[in-house]
């Protein structure tokens, strides 16, 4: 099941740095990405910044999916449904219960964790293609469930996320707004930074999970369940917990999506969303921490920036290209962008010859140096 691993060498690199040299190239790259991420919303129109937040939501959910599918080998075609549950949880908690925004986001994660564990239990017996089938059915079912329980969910017309707010005409329920404390930033910019911070936290947590003993047990279970069991890993617990954590991340992604749009609607959580998460994971590089973020950005650039430039008649070409891309990637570069990059680096290192490898610049060491920046945003490592 390590078929999609982006790693070209061993999947769990030894955390000890072998090379003592400062990774200058990496620090420069990290700084550039950091500057771009921080500077971007200041130079972009509000609608772009909202699109960027949408990409972050996808990145968070895709990262959760990657943990499950990339690292643990459990295929889910149903993360769009968990994303939807997260979004609806936040909307209902804020609008109907009056929970503060950030607590609602955390609760959405908790709710999805529980749902994920509940899905993870049957997934112990249902594997591979069959799990894909069940989760596909979940993804198809979710928008219908929203319609069925329309008294709570608002049905097909959706829900607006509101809170009681003081106005000239007294206290009225109005769509919530996230505004910066001192009014220094426009609402879209504030939203961008807040959710960027959340995204960075999620990716750092993911990185820490993956690098830990738990992360290694995820991969061990994926590669060979029997062998993992024999070496003392509690396979069932690992798989269920992974499902839970992955679902929680999808839920937080959904929460970000809901807060960004200030409304939820069943048509935002169709089977297509589940598929786009898979595309983000695979395009970026499965079983690499940063892969889903790269994939989400690639997807976002394509759908929000490139595709609107196409003439209207050709708009439906977007999914054709995405689908075609997915197939081509599976055939020629199952490791996605990160896998491809690692291959380039490995090739270059190999060309430098055995001498370079001896002093620690071999292909393996490239994936070994801990990133100097906490975001991991430039680190192609697992």
């Amino acid at each position: 099941m390590s078929e999609l691993t982006a790693a070209t060498s061993e999947p769990h690199p030894d955390p000890r740095p072998r090379s003592r040299r400062l990774p200058i190239g990496r620090i420069v790259a990290a700084s550039i990405v950091g500057v771009v991420l921080v500077g971007l919303p200041l130079e972009s129109p509000p609608f772009r910044n909202e699109q960027f937040v949408g990409w972050m939501a996808i990145a968070i959910a895709a990262s959760g999916l990657n943990l499950l599918t990339g690292y643990n080998g459990q295929i889910s075609v149903g993360h769009g449904a968990l994303y939807g549950i997260g979004a609806y949880s936040v909307a209902l908690l804020i609008t109907d219960v009056g929970v503060p925004v950030w607590i609602a986001v955390a609760l959405a994660g908790v709710i999805c964790f529980v749902v994920g564990v509940a899905i993870g239990l049957p997934a112990l017996r249902i594997k591979g293609l069959y799990l894909a089938l069940v989760t596909l059915a979940v993804a198809t079912l979710f928008p219908l469930l929203v319609e069925q329980f329309s008294s709570v969910t608002g049905g097909g017309s959706g829900l607006s996320i509101t809170s009681p707010q003081e106005t000239a005409r007294g206290v009225v329920d109005r769509p919530i707004q996230l505004t910066s404390p001192f009014g220094a930033l426009a609402p879209d910019q504030w939203k961008y930074y807040v959710f960027l911070a959340l995204t960075v936290v999620v990716f750092v947590v993911t990185r820490n999970i993956v690098r830990s003993r738990t992360g290694r047990s995820l991969v061990a279970v994926r590669d060979n369940e029997t062998a993992a069991e024999v070496s003392g890993i509690h396979v069932a617990r690992v798989k269920i917990l992974t499902f839970g954590v992955s679902a929680a991340m999808a839920g937080v992604g959904g929460a970000v999506f809901a807060l960004n749009n200030v409304r939820v609607n069943p048509s935002s959580f169709t089977i297509a969303v589940s598929i786009y998460f898979l595309i983000a994971v695979v395009v970026g590089g499965a079983a690499s921490v940063i892969g889903p973020a790269i994939g989400a950005v690639a997807y976002g650039v394509f759908v929000d920036v490139v595709s609107p430039e196409l003439p209207e008649r050709l708009q439906p070409a977007t999914p054709v290209i995405l689908g075609g891309l997915l197939i081509v990637l599976m055939l020629v570069a199952p490791g996605g962008i990160v896998g491809w990059w690692r291959m380039l680096v490995a090739k270059r290192a190999a060309r430098r010859g055995a001498g370079a490898a001896a002093d620690g610049a071999g292909p393996a060491s490239v994936t070994r140096k801990p990133s100097s920046r906490s975001t991991d945003a430039r680190s192609p490592e697992a």
Binding site: M1, Y130, P316, P334
Partner: protein, 294 residues
């Protein structure tokens, strides 16, 4: 009672459609060991081919045959270009799932690109006439669906059990390596299997379209019903697909009608079936149990 019979007959008519799609899924599962998530979209695409030919003025039955031929070509092409190069589905399930999902998205978009986003009207193959049995009016279209299903199922059974070609296809399904060693042209037979599956999918699409309008999302629900049918029947059993199709069709017609809380989710009984069967009897009713050697 009449009401119940009415609901029951609707279920049987729908069930025949699910069984048709299921037959295609079984043929592909048997030959390549793969759950083809793109089966519904392939069927949708070739139904558009039927519509195009019919729209040119060709009588509908001939247009359906043309669409089946088109479907066969699409299925064979898809197998050659996208599915075969990825490798064994049980060795690389994720890659194969991703390819079929890529096809899912790609074919859906391609249909919109070619035929636009507005729904098309495809008339019912057996007309809009009705016949009254036991005080219940049944559309000829539903009876036609059951008859066509019977013909298709019989055709597949004859092909697999009574012809040399079918024997070779079964050999590929049972052990493709040994089959190729005794001279069976495995890749060509796999391609044939995909073509046949797509061709019967066309018929499922032709029966689905008249009720709801022909759009690119035509088969997305039907696909899940079809999967529920073959999960219940057993992934590799043609008979199972037919019986499973009827059970799923009836359940998804009766349950929303009579069980409160299920009014808008006919998919729920199908989902519960899929989950329950996979958990407690993964080989389904008629499927062969998979035994894996250590």
């Amino acid at each position: 009672m009449t009401d119940f019979l009415q609901v029951l007959f609707v279920g049987i008519g729908d069930g025949a459609i699910y069984a048709m799609l299921g037959l295609g899924l079984v043929v592909i599962y048997r030959s390549t060991g793969l759950l083809n998530f793109a089966q519904g979209e392939m069927a949708m695409f070739s139904t558009f081919v039927v519509w195009t030919v019919w729209d040119l003025g060709v009588p509908l039955p001939l247009a359906v045959l043309a669409g089946m031929a088109g479907g066969f070509a699409i299925g064979a092409l898809v197998h050659q270009v996208a599915v075969a190069p990825v490798g064994d589905p049980h060795e690389r399930p994720l890659a194969v799932v991703m390819v079929t999902i890529g096809l899912f998205v790609g074919l859906n978009g391609l249909a919109q690109l070619i035929w636009g986003t507005l729904d098309r009207e495809l008339p019912p193959l057996f007309g809009t006439g009705q016949v009254t049995i036991a005080g219940v009016a049944i559309g000829w279209q539903k009876i036609g669906a059951v008859i066509v299903l019977a013909v298709l199922a019989l055709g597949f059974w004859l092909l697999f059990q009574r012809t040399g070609l079918g024997l070779a296809m079964r050999a590929v399904a049972s052990n493709s390596e040994s089959a190729s060693l005794v001279g069976v042209p495995v890749p060509r037979l796999l391609m044939l299997g995909w073509g046949l599956a797509a061709a019967v999918g066309t018929v499922a699409g032709v029966f689905t379209a008249p009720g709801r309008g022909l759009g690119s999302n035509l088969m997305q629900l039907t696909l899940i019903f079809g999967f529920a049918a073959i999960t219940l029947g057993g992934f590799d059993s043609l008979l199972g697909a037919v019986i499973g199709g009827f059970v799923v069709g009836i359940a998804s017609s009766v349950v929303p009608q009579y069980v409160p809380g299920f009014e808008k989710i006919p998919l729920a009984p199908a989902f519960i079936l899929i989950l329950a069967v996979l958990l407690f009897r993964p080989q389904g009713l008629f499927g062969r149990q998979q035994v894996r050697r250590v």
